[in-house]
Subunit: 655 residues, 2 copies
């Protein structure tokens, strides 16, 4: 096998972007209409890559763990997002340029300007420029867009800027406004001052039906669709927890001013799991299978101390030591890790970062982001994995009055004796009429001691009781009997907790493309995408020597046999050299190629080429089809293929 | 094998709906919030069924025909739909109840009321009620919602009503308003009169970005995303046509008052193909493979004569006789037919109906709908297959100024001699300054004769020419030289035509469920969904005799081996009888079941049950896994499985 040096050339973003554009992995949507920021279309290789990532996701999570798949609507009536808190809180702070009206995200503006000043200070002090992309906080990851100029700052100012940047997620809108005034932060592209920060809700609004009576929003996540169907899902699972629902679908966020390619978009595909679990038992039956998996962790204590030092530890140890809150959360973090490696993410550029206390949603018990390092966003959140406790089911239950609970038969019924009130319904109804509810509510609100006190008072004669609204009612002794009774409970009722792994597919896809890209050592212009076969858009390229009719029967035969074996192949019979056709498919990430030439027609042989090494082997058509099928479907690796097929040197020279 | 009588009980819509609801195939979205008409969520079996239909669609079309897959955005800026004509014309006519404000679709109101009156007339004349659902026109298929009362009409009135109904698609909004006045049509649920019909655009509107500067719509079809990316797709295909792009995605239509379940919804999944083809050559290289396929056709001439008589003919004959416009259209119609049969649609309830001249979009050359018969909508359009000519590319090209064309090298260059004008650019620029464009445009607009006349005039001295805006310019002889020259064209440039097969996945899924449903002869309460294995949500049910730990190792082994073989299996170890578990899975459409019991533990045997016949066979675990894998992946049928495995009678009694 040939040696391959994938790091001969440093990563070149310009070459990388040119390749993605040239091969139509994705492109700005509505390009011929001038495009709209934050909206992208996926072309044939991008669509296939995405479809393959999703197919593997479905296999790895839904099939492997028998999850219940859902497909719920994107269009959502407003009351759902009022209950979930999105209408009130799913917002960013924006500021407007007072001169040209340009709208900027307030925290991004502060960050970009202060980072540029710090960079200028470092330059003035004679230090080499620092790559800002490696910053550790998730909101600090945007590519630097503000040019720095070499101006030295006072040491105290440097310290203050660094402190502001470290706490950027903590500031409210008015605080961000204050920082802009204090530090004379203006729009760097125009030099104009900006106005006060204003909240901007990120949900796209619309209206359902012809009369506008149903305001609606496009969902910013798929999660609510799971929660609203909880009771049906529970019934489908025979009334038992734990179980998980899973959904792959489009979501929408009306970002203020998206400029980070696929990392910040207004419409994207998410894959989300909601694992419903008993709050008293968050163990996981398959935890032992992942306990030894080693992860790179950045926990909240390290971050709170202003550090970004990661540590490597096993999932088992992390849960045992309380670094990760519980087994189920740890299990999913390990499964996320396995998934990302499987599709081709570089494990050295993957870490799990815990949310800090102030960063986490108030209801969440623990939350970890899988962060993948890339050239645009530094360490970028690509998967979130949160223990959302009982928040979601509770708020929808409160809003709708529907019980969203699990009812579990208890092995040993709980027996307890307590005071119980019984009304003479007829008499009470006649006396209080429309206020029966208020009266009985007032009694229901009493605790054991209160009830026994009331019993004593009634033994003396009529007494008064105050309703929740403060109104007094007089109760006659005959209306109410209070006795201690024995109650036996054989059902436990509880609101399950939710562990939520949530994947941003576009971000993962983008990072995967970056991690897969390199240039041939001998020619930097020859880019390669080393996508694993499991996600590669095309698995095998079929290359006839030319478009001549004599190759047609063999091309058809090989195509059909590969298709029947479940191996996605494509024919490239374009009018160009075999070498050029292979180069084009190196850029498309096609792992294997087979060539049909005159020897194939005469001897039924076929060569097999591996993308990364450009090694070529030769064998009978039957053998090559069998081996490439095993290569693609995961049975063997290239070393084994080389053991089975002799080397071929005939065509190598053409490249 | 047991005999199966699937028609022992007539189709029972109530039982069918109850099954779909009980097994959570789908349910109204936001049910706990009271629901919103026209929005549905798919539960686990519905999601899997849909995913399997789409996987088969992808295999049948995209893979089999090497189509270029796309994934474009749903959110679309307004100019795109202004160019496509959707902003002006993608609308229905609605009327408002003048009393309670209820909004109704105008054509549906006329149809429902007149049909109810005709039904009442038939009852008064003593005839048996007619099933309205079997009506032949696509807009006549809504379930009858208006109750008829037995009132005899004059023969002339009956004839008039029938004539109105036959032409319902032809009426404009004002005409529908006139019909309502003439025939005293009121809202049947309230008895109130309705107002004048008003146009209602069916696109959901939103706004992109924080400042509202980009009005946008949710796409009502995926097609525009293909057209806008045409140039990139063409380049990806090495500049050659024909090729096809394909896209599966969500689309949105804000229906006025949807009440037909999955047949008329506000958000749905479409799968669309845009096949780009040379307008001068609509032959198809694989046409011979489908020429002998027999189709049931309802052509436009038959319909125009007021008939609904279908005829059965081969695709080859239909194209040869001009019934279907061209080979490519015919090829796709045949491929659509094969796809629908493959996923389980009943061929006897499937026909292809040609659009009538007045029904077809003005730009379309020919259009056929695959109509599937069902109890809700009668013959319902589920797939459209249209020759859209060059319309779409032309309008976007005109709006954006981008050339959306194919450039084809001609084998024999075309040589022609014609007059050509050449300006003295410097002199013209100095003379006309900002009006150079108007002057040269005026000359460009001249034909051969006009140019030669101008040449003659200039030979005499200065002359005048009138611009398109009517302004006169004086041209001096030195400014312009006109000569006959020889032009050689070696490139042919043309706008390709588009053949568009467009699938409404939810409608297909609903019809498939109806066609698959029946009740056991011995017990009408025992429903079965005879879904083919290729689309069934679960292929094999694994049923341990009980949840006892001793069966666990075998359950795990069988699950793992089936999963590795690519067969989607599920374990049902719920605490109920084997018979009940099988019945539940008959309702879920699971084609096969295997039982693990004490004999399995002792002898490593396993029984295999077939859903429709309830036949049970027995064999070694190895043999049963091998055979069920072949059954599911399409190698053998049940007859062959019965030949290989002996019958088993032990458990039959339990059911």
């Amino acid at each position: 096998m040939s040696a391959v040096n994938k790091t001969a050339h440093a990563f070149d973003k310009t070459r990388f972007d040119a390749l993605l554009n040239r091969r139509f992995f994705y492109a700005p949507a509505f390009e011929i209409y001038g495009g709209i920021a934050g909206l992208y279309d996926y072309g044939p290789p991008g669509s296939s890559l995405q479809a393959n990532i999703l197919a593997e996701w479905r296999r790895h999570f839904i099939v492997e763990e028998s999850m219940l798949e859902l497909d719920t609507t994107i269009m959502t009536p407003a009351p759902v997002f009022e209950a979930s808190g999105h209408v009130a809180r799913f917002a960013d702070w924006m500021v407007k340029d007072t001169g040209n009206g340009e709208v900027l995200r307030a925290d991004h503006l502060v960050k970009n300007v202060l980072e540029a000043r710090l960079e200028g200070d470092r330059e003035a002090r004679g230090a080499a420029p620092v790559v800002v992309a490696a910053a550790d906080d998730k909101k600090k990851k945007k590519k630097k867009q503000v040019k720095s100029t070499a101006v030295k700052l006072d040491d105290a100012v440097v310290a203050e800027y660094e402190s502001i940047l470290a706490q950027l997620d903590n500031y409210s809108g008015p605080e961000l406004g204050g920082l802009m005034r204090t530090h004379a932060i203006t729009n760097p592209t125009s030099g104009n001052p900006v106005g006060e920060p204003q909240q901007f809700n990120l949900m796209f609004a619309s209206s359902i039906g012809p009369t506008g009576q149903h305001p609606g929003f496009l969902r910013p996540e798929t999660a609510q669709g799971h929660f609203l169907n909880f009771s049906r899902l529970l019934e489908f699972n025979n009334g038992r927890v734990p179980f998980a629902s899973a959904q792959i679908g489009r979501t929408f966020r009306n970002e203020i001013s998206p400029r980070a390619g696929l990392l910040r978009v207004r419409e994207f595909t998410m894959a989300e799991i909601e694992h419903f679990v008993d709050p008293l038992d968050k163990t996981h039956p398959r935890f032992s299978e992942v306990a030894d998996v080693e992860l790179v962790l950045l926990d909240k204590y390290v971050q709170a101390a202003g550090q970004t030092t990661t540590r490597t530890m096993t999932v088992g140890a992390a849960v045992a030591q309380g670094v990760i809150a519980n087994e189920t959360l740890g299990y999913f973090i390990a499964r996320i890790y396995a998934f990302l490696l499987r599709i081709g993410i570089d494990g050295r550029r993957l870490r799990f970062r815990q949310h800090m206390a102030n960063e986490m949603a108030h209801y969440a018990a623990d939350c970890w982001d899988a962060e993948i390092q890339n050239s645009v966003g530094g360490w970028t959140e690509c998967v979130g994995c949160a223990d959302r406790a009982a928040y979601d089911l509770s708020v929808h239950s409160a809003k709708t009055g529907q019980a969203l609970v699990v009812r579990q038969a208890l092995k040993d019924p709980v027996v307890e004796e307590r005071a119980a009130a019984e009304w003479d319904k007829k008499l009470v109804g006649k006396t209080f009429k429309g206020e029966v509810g208020a009266v009985s509510g007032a009694v229901d609100a009493l605790d054991e001691a209160g009830l026994m006190r009331l019993k004593g008072e009634l033994a003396q004669g009529p007494t008064t009781i105050k309703s929740a609204e403060g109104k007094e009612f007089t109760i006659e002794p005959g209306m109410l009997t209070i006795e201690r009774k024995t109650f036996k409970t054989s059902i436990r009722e509880f609101t399950p907790n939710v562990i939520e792994p949530s994947f941003g597919i576009g971000r993962i896809l983008y990072c995967l493309l970056e991690h897969s890209f390199w240039s041939r050592e001998q020619d930097v212009e020859r880019g390669v995408l080393s996508l694993p076969a499991v996600v590669a858009p095309t698995k095998v390229l079929i290359v006839p020597l030319s478009a001549r009719a004599e190759f047609d029967p063999l091309v058809k035969e090989v195509s059909l046999r590969l298709r029947k074996a479940g191996v996605h192949a494509r024919v490239d019979d374009s009018n160009t050299s075999i070498g050029k056709r292979y180069s084009r498919n190196d850029e498309l990430g096609t792992p294997y190629g087979v060539t049909l030439d005159f020897a194939s027609v005469q001897n039924r042989t076929m060569t097999l080429r591996e993308r990364d090494t450009m090694d070529q082997r030769i064998g009978s058509i039957d053998d090559v089809i069998a081996i490439v099928t095993e290569l693609v479907l995961g049975g063997i690796d290239w070393t084994e293929a080389c053991r089975r097929l002799p080397a071929y040197d005939g065509v190598q020279a053409v490249e």
